[in-house]
C-alpha cells in the first residue's frame, strides 16, 4: 500500500471573517506626523503628560529602524496605515445601546453568550474604541477596577502614570515607540491587595476598518497576595490591505500575587501582529502565560517575564499553528534577576501548507539570580515538506548556581502511530487530526473550557480537507 501524500487547502474562514460596512466617523490621514499625534491626543482629551509622552515616543519612533532579525516586514508601509479609527458608537455599559451591525459581528463571535456564562466582565474593543463594557458588581465592591484605558487615564490617572509604558519603554523597539505615540483603547485592571478574583476577566479586541492599525494598551496591576485570570481573545475580519497590530501588554504582579494571562490570537490572514507583552513579578509572585497563535500573516510575539523578586515564578505554555501564507515567529523570554527564581517554558508549534513557524526564546540569568532554575521544552510538528519549522533559543547565563535545561524536537506525525490508530478502525484523516489535537492538548488543558473548545475547532478547521 503506497503512502499517499496529502495536501492542505485552506478552507473558508467565513465565520471568522465577518466584516461590516466601514462606518467609522473619523479616520486620521495616512502616515504619522506630529500633527496627527496632537490631533489624536486632543480628541482623546489626554492629560498634558500623555501628550508629551506621545510626542517623545514619536521622536523615538523616527530614530529607530526596523529590527534586523526576525520575519521580513518590508510589506509594511507605515505611511499607508491609518492609525486611528473611531467607530460610530460611544462608550456604553448596556448591550441594548450597541449599534446593530456592531452587535451582529459581536454576536457571531459569541460575546454576549460568553458574558452570560458567568464571565466577570466584557470589554470589547471595536476598532480603537471600547464600545461595550461591563463588570460584575461584587468585583466593584471588592475594589477591583476593570475599565478601558481611556477611562482609567482620567479616573485613575496616578496609577496609570506610575505604570504606563514603564515596563515596555518606547525605546524598546520601533513598534513599542509607535505604540507609545498612537496607542488607543485597551483594558485596565487593578486588583487590590489580597483580593482573589475567582472568575476570569475577559476582553475581545477586533480590527475592522481596512488599513487600520490597532494599538490597544493593556495594563494590569495585581497587588500583593491578590490573584487574577485575564483572558484576551482576538479575532479580526479579513481585508486586502496589510493591517498592523502593535498592541502592548504590561502586567505588574506584586509580591505573593498570581496572574494568569491567556490569549488565543486568531487574527485575519493579512494582519501584521507585532505585539509586545511583558510582566514583572515580585517576590513569591507567579505569572502564567497561556498563549495560542493561529491567525495573522506575520507575527512577532514573545511574552517576556522579568522575575524581579526572590522566588518569583513564570510558567509559559504556548502553541503556534502556521498555515499557508503565514510566518509566525513566536516564543518567550525570561529574565531572572533574583535568587531562586524559576521558569518553565513549554511550547508546541505546527506548520503546514507552506506556513512558517519559528520558536524563538531568550533565557537570561543575571549575576543577581543565584539558584535560578529554568527548563525549556519545545516540540515542533511539520505536516508536510513545503512548510518550515525553525527553533532558535538562546540562553545567557551568568554565575555558577543556575540550573538551566533546554530540549527541543522537530519531526512529523509518525507513520506507526497512524497505523496504530487505523488498526482500531479510525480513518486516516481522523487519526491524523487526533494526533495533532493530542499534540496541542498540553496547552488546551490549560485553557478555560470554551477557549479549549475554540482552539480545538481552530485545529479542526485547519486540518479539514488536509488529508485523505
Amino acid at each position: 500500500m503506497a503512502q499517499e501524500k496529502t495536501y492542505i487547502e485552506d478552507i473558508e474562514r467565513t465565520l471568522y471573517d465577518i466584516k461590516n460596512v466601514d462606518k467609522s466617523k473619523y479616520k486620521s490621514q495616512s502616515g504619522l506626523t506630529e500633527d496627527i499625534i496632537r490631533d489624536i491626543s486632543a480628541r482623546k482629551n489626554d492629560p498634558d503628560w500623555m501628550l508629551e509622552f506621545r510626542l517623545k515616543s514619536l521622536e523615538v519612533y523616527n530614530q529607530l529602524s526596523l529590527p534586523n532579525w526576525g520575519p521580513d516586514l518590508s510589506e509594511l508601509n507605515m505611511d499607508e496605515i491609518v492609525t486611528y479609527v473611531q467607530p460610530d458608537a460611544k462608550m456604553t455599559g448596556s448591550w441594548d445601546e450597541v449599534p446593530e451591525d456592531i452587535k451582529d459581528t459581536f454576536d457571531r463571535l459569541g460575546i454576549p453568550e460568553a458574558e452570560q456564562t458567568s464571565l466577570a466582565g466584557v470589554g470589547a474593543q471595536y476598532d480603537s474604541e471600547v464600545v461595550y463594557h461591563s463588570i460584575q458588581e461584587d468585583l466593584v465592591k471588592q475594589g477591583v477596577i476593570y475599565t478601558d484605558m481611556e477611562t482609567a487615564l482620567h479616573e485613575h490617572e496616578e496609577i496609570v502614570r506610575d505604570h504606563f509604558m514603564k515596563l515596555v519603554p518606547p525605546k524598546d523597539h520601533k513598534f513599542a515607540a509607535l505604540h507609545g505615540a498612537v496607542w488607543s483603547g485597551g483594558s485596565f485592571v487593578y486588583v487590590p491587595e489580597g483580593v482573589h478574583v475567582e472568575i476570569p476577566l475577559q476582553s475581545y479586541f477586533r480590527l475592522n476598518a481596512a488599513g487600520a492599525g490597532q494599538f490597544e494598551h493593556t495594563l494590569i496591576i495585581v497587588e500583593k497576595n491578590a490573584s487574577l485570570h485575564f483572558i484576551e481573545g482576538c479575532s479580526a475580519p479579513k481585508y486586502n490591505v496589510t493591517n498592523l497590530h502593535a498592541g502592548c501588554v504590561e502586567l505588574f504582579v506584586n509580591d505573593g500575587a498570581r496572574l494568569r494571562y491567556s490569549t488565543i490570537e486568531n487574527w485575519s490572514r493579512n494582519m501584521m501582529n507585532l505585539n509586545t507583552k511583558r510582566a514583572v513579578v515580585g517576590k513569591d509572585g507567579v505569572i502564567e502565560w497561556v498563549s495560542g497563535s493561529f491567525g495573522s500573516h506575520v507575527s512577532m510575539l514573545y511574552p517576556c517575564s522579568v522575575l524581579k523578586g526572590e522566588n518569583a515564578k513564570c510558567e509559559f505554555t504556548g502553541v503556534t499553528f502556521a498555515s499557508k501564507g503565514q510566518n509566525l515567529d513566536t516564543g518567550a523570554s525570561v529574565i531572572h534577576c533574583a535568587p531562586h527564581t524559576s521558569a518553565n517554558i513549554s511550547t508546541r508549534t505546527i506548520s503546514k501548507a507552506g506556513g512558517k513557524a519559528t520558536y524563538r526564546s531568550a533565557v537570561k540569568v543575571t549575576k543577581n539570580a543565584p539558584y535560578a532554575k529554568c527548563s525549556v521544552n519545545c516540540e515542533s510538528l511539520m505536516l508536510d515538506d513545503i512548510s518550515r519549522s525553525d527553533t532558535l533559543p538562546t540562553m545567557d547565563i551568568e554565575g555558577d548556581e543556575a540550573d538551566i535545561g533546554h530540549e527541543a524536537t522537530i519531526g512529523r506525525i509518525s507513520d506507526e502511530a497512524i497505523f496504530y490508530l487505523m488498526s482500531r478502525g479510525i480513518s486516516e484523516d481522523e487519526a491524523r487530526s487526533m494526533i495533532v489535537r493530542g499534540f496541542v492538548e498540553p496547552i488546551a488543558k490549560e485553557l478555560p473550557l470554551e477557549y479549549a473548545v475554540e482552539m480545538n475547532n481552530l485545529v479542526n478547521i485547519e486540518l479539514e480537507g488536509t488529508m485523505g
Partner: protein
C-alpha cells in the same frame, strides 16, 4: 464451520532500509485458514516473520503483498485500508504498542468504538462498560484518563491492548506476544480476558513464546513458522513438544 480468515500462498516483502531500492522477502508463501470459534497459535523463533504476518493481515503500509491471497469472510482484504479492515472486525494487539501523547485511553477507545460500530456511543453507558472491563483486567480506573501508553510499563501497555479488544469485540483477534513482559499474575489476567472474549462467533490467532497463556485456552491448531514459512502444523501436542525440545528438530524441515 464458517470461514473467517483465508490466506493462500501469501508472500510479503518489506522495503529494505539498507539496500538501495531492493525489497526484502519476509513471508515466502503462507497458507492459513481460521474458522469461527477457533483458536490458532503461531510459534517460531525470533525474526521468523510472525509479526510480519500480523502486520500484513492488518494492512501495514510498509509491508507489500507480493503474491497470494488474503480474504476475510470471503472478501478480498488486500485493497482495503487498515481502518477498513478494523471495521470488518479484525483487531491486532501490538507486540510493541504505540505511545500517543495527548489522547486519553477513554477518548481513544470511544472514538474507535464509534468508528467500528458506526454508532454514536453514549458516554455514560460507555463509561460503565469501560470501568467494568478495566476491573476485569485489574487496571486502575485512573488509567482511563491517562494518555495512550505514555509512561505505561510494558505490562500495562499489554493490558491496555486487551482492554481495547474487550471493548471493541472484534471477530478476529490477532494477539502478537501479548503475554511477553507480563508477570505470572498478569498472564493469568490476560488469559482470563481472552478466554472470556472467545466464543463460537469469533476467533483468535495468538503469537507467543510462552505457553503459559495457552494453558486454559482450547487451542485448535498450532503453526510453526521458520524463515517466513510454516514448517510444521498440528494440534496442541506440538506446543508441548516445542516447549521441551525447542525448534531444533524442525531445522531440516524447511
Amino acid at each position: 464451520m464458517e470461514k473467517l480468515l483465508n490466506i493462500k500462498n501469501l508472500q510479503v516483502t518489506v522495503a529494505d532500509n539498507e539496500a538501495e531500492d531492493a525489497s526484502k522477502e519476509i513471508l515466502k508463501g503462507i497458507d492459513l485458514q481460521v474458522n469461527k470459534g477457533e483458536i490458532h497459535v503461531v510459534l517460531g523463533p525470533n525474526g521468523s516473520g510472525k509479526s510480519t504476518l500480523m502486520n500484513a493481515i492488518m494492512g501495514h503500509p510498509k509491508y507489500e503483498i507480493a503474491g497470494g491471497s488474503l480474504e476475510f469472510e470471503g472478501e478480498d482484504l488486500t485493497e482495503l485500508k487498515t481502518f477498513e479492515r478494523a471495521r470488518k472486525g479484525i483487531f491486532l494487539s501490538f507486540q510493541t504498542p504505540e505511545e500517543i501523547p495527548g489522547i486519553t485511553v477513554e477518548n481513544m477507545i470511544r472514538t474507535a468504538k464509534q468508528a467500528v460500530t458506526g454508532e454514536n456511543i453514549k458516554v455514560i453507558k460507555f463509561r460503565r462498560e469501560l470501568k467494568a472491563a478495566m476491573k476485569e483486567l485489574q487496571m486502575d480506573e485512573s488509567y482511563a484518563q491517562r494518555y495512550m501508553n505514555v509512561g505505561f510499563s510494558g505490562g500495562e501497555k499489554k493490558r491496555n491492548e486487551i482492554l481495547q479488544m474487550l471493548m471493541l469485540q472484534p471477530k478476529l483477534a490477532l494477539l502478537d506476544e501479548t503475554d511477553s513482559g507480563l508477570d505470572v499474575d498478569a498472564i493469568q489476567i490476560v488469559s482470563n480476558g481472552v478466554k472470556k472474549f472467545h466464543n463460537e462467533d469469533n476467533a483468535c490467532l495468538i503469537i507467543t513464546h510462552n505457553t503459559r497463556i495457552l494453558k486454559q485456552l482450547n487451542v485448535d491448531k498450532v503453526h510453526v513458522m521458520m524463515q517466513g514459512k510454516f514448517v510444521a502444523e498440528g494440534g496442541p501436542e506440538l506446543i508441548e513438544k516445542i516447549d521441551k525440545e525447542g525448534f531444533g528438530f524442525l531445522q531440516g524441515a524447511e
